[in-house]
């Protein structure tokens, strides 16, 4: 559908903000936010503990050997966050499954689609709401990192860059989840399909080493989690930035198409 309307930024932003706030409140009004954040905190805590114990032993061995000192960033923080990926993979489908499916099931989609909002504003608002919940999940990890600053002396720039990378990676997951949620009324279907797609995007480059050089490059490029690697080293590479941003944009664009075509089909 073509819209012949001059862009008006202030009302557009305020609409997006209204939807985002509603989404975020919705997560916290239902058990979803608590379960998702709680499960994440539990799993992340375990990962952190396990890797910390391992790091501790390594550090002691290093010290005993009289060799060079260990690097907290490289040997603890980085592996912790690379592993945290997998947790997001499991947890984020639970966040995104209801975004559209629930509105369709309860009929509230009729309110949104008949209010003076563009499809983009609705989708952007929902995306922002889910991102805010995701950011809340990431915030759970801050005390763990703070502890490291208390007892050790890690570099803070790679940590900030890691968080940026995680936000972008989560954005990709959420945009895919949003798209899948817009395709179905059924939350179980949404959660399973989203989980499958996430998993595929994670493991897609596992077969890369068995394929030709071109395919290998393509498969490596497609893997969402692979692009996080440089961020965890504290490197912001435009290549990865472009990948994540265009991935998110594509996800949101396809969601808009899906919502629009749903209208025509009725």
């Amino acid at each position: 559908m073509r819209r012949r309307r001059k862009p008006q930024w202030r009302p557009a932003l305020s609409n997006i903000w209204a939807i985002a706030q509603k989404e975020l409140k919705g997560y916290f009004a239902s058990p979803i936010a608590y379960i998702v954040i709680g499960l994440f905190a539990l799993m992340f805590g375990y990962f952190f503990y396990a890797l910390l114990v391992y790091f501790d032993r390594q550090a002691m061995q290093m010290a005993a050997g009289g060799g060079q000192s260990v690097n907290v960033n490289e040997q603890l923080i980085r592996p912790v966050f690379l592993n945290a990926n997998v947790i997001f993979l499991f947890v984020l489908p639970m966040v995104t499954m209801r975004i559209y499916a629930e509105e369709k099931r309860s009929g509230t989609i009729e309110l949104l689609l008949t209010s003076p909002l563009t499809d983009f504003q609705i989708i952007a608002g929902k995306f922002a709401g889910a991102m805010a919940l995701y950011a809340a999940m990431l915030a759970v990890t801050l005390p763990h990192v703070a502890v490291l600053f208390w007892f050790g002396n890690p570099e803070w720039i790679p940590i900030v860059v890691t968080y940026l990378g995680l936000l972008l990676m989560g954005g990709c997951f959420i945009s895919v989840g949003l798209l899948i949620s817009s395709l179905t009324k059924n939350q179980i279907v949404a959660v399973m399909a989203t989980f499958t797609v996430f998993l595929m995007l994670w493991v897609i480059n596992w077969i890369a080493s068995f394929t030709g050089p071109t395919t290998q490059a393509v498969l490596n490029y497609l893997s969402i989690t692979d692009h996080l690697d440089d961020f965890t080293r504290g490197v912001i590479d435009t290549k990865h930035l472009v990948y994540y941003v265009s991935f998110i944009a594509l996800g949101l664009y396809l969601t808009m198409q899906s919502v629009d075509s749903e209208r025509w089909r009725g």
Binding site: M1, R4, L111, T114, P116, T118
Partner: protein
């Protein structure tokens, strides 16, 4: 205010709405009447911009719903068949959210929300979660949502469904009140509702408009001729024969008889008032005149008449929809 031109909506091979045209003027309350599955909801969904039509166009408050959806939606309040409530929000939070997305300026939000809650009588449940409200309250919160931005056009899909009789009366009163400065389309399959609240009626069946008129005209127009009901006490006399000889009378049939009291339906040429002649003749014969009244079809009968006509003769239906 509202203009629908040759609107058609198909879902795959199924035609839900077939070449529907009608208009509603400012301040008018238009009743959308039809059996379940007639295409009422689909037509309303097109009018509100929820879905685009397959063919034809709809203009609401001067804006084409397909070309300028945002402008049209700004001026439309819509109560869908199931009130679109978020169960986890309180009624007040819900209405505040709706006010935001409907573009009610920040400074007016609180007062607008208060005003519509007052008007729809939901102030007492303002801080209850929507999911915990009874059907009647949910319906009214939905109605409050439609009124929030004081739209020029109100589209109400079965606004009284699920309400108890007292609430139905209150809601009808509210709708009539709103009719003055809003243009309202309301759908229903309950016939008395339209005759009590609406200025005009669109009867729709199987996706087609079968009749558009005021309740009064509809009643009159659908009678080919005028019919009077007379009840008289004429023991032993053949009153029927006598009445049929009166000028202008086309047919007399006996409708009921109890002892000497007989009721007749007297049909006459349309446009001719035979009441005086009828009364004079009866009195002249020395019979007792117990009752004399024009017979009008109730809306139920009209409705059955047009909807069955439509099934039998699709041609007639097309003619009616051109109106």
């Amino acid at each position: 205010m509202i203009e629908v031109q040759h609107l058609t909506k198909r879902y795959g091979p199924f035609t839900a709405v077939d070449d529907v045209s009608f208009k509603a003027e400012r301040g008018e309350i238009l009743g959308f009447l039809g059996p379940n599955g007639a295409g009422k909801t689909t037509t309303m969904r097109v009018l509100t911009g929820y879905m685009p039509p397959t063919e034809g166009k709809a203009i609401v408050a001067g804006y084409d719903v397909l070309e300028q959806p945002i402008e049209a939606k700004r001026r439309t309040g819509y109560l869908p068949e199931t009130p679109p409530l978020y169960p986890d929000m309180t009624a007040r939070d819900y209405l505040t959210f709706c006010a935001r997305i409907k573009g009610v300026p920040r400074s007016e939000r609180t007062s607008r929300v208060g005003a519509v809650m007052e008007r729809t009588r939901i102030a007492d449940v303002a801080d209850k979660h929507c999911g915990k409200l009874s059907k009647g309250y949910r319906q009214r919160v939905g109605l409050a949502q439609a009124l929030l931005h004081n739209p020029e056009v109100l589209i109400l899909d079965e606004p009284t469904a699920g309400l108890d009789p007292k609430q139905i009366i209150e809601t009808r009163e509210l709708i009539k009140e709103l009719g003055g400065d809003h243009t309202i389309i309301l759908s229903t399959h309950i016939l008395p509702e339209v005759s009590q609240t609406c200025n005009r009626i669109v009867i729709i069946n199987r996706g087609r408009v079968v009749a558009v008129d005021t309740p009064d005209n509809l009643t009159a127009r659908l009678r080919g001729s005028e019919t009077m009901y007379v009840q008289l006490d004429a023991l032993g006399a053949d009153a029927g024969n006598a009445l049929s000889t009166l000028p202008g009378v086309t047919r007399v049939s006996e409708s009921d008889r109890r002892d000497s009291i007989i009721g007749y339906e007297v049909e006459s040429e349309s446009g001719r008032d035979i009441r005086r002649d009828l009364a004079a003749s009866i009195v002249g014969h020395g019979w007792g005149l117990l009752e004399l009244r024009p017979m009008r079809l109730s809306l139920e009968e009209i409705f059955l008449q047009v909807t069955t006509e439509d099934a039998a003769a699709p041609e007639a239906a097309v003619e009616a929809s051109v109106e």
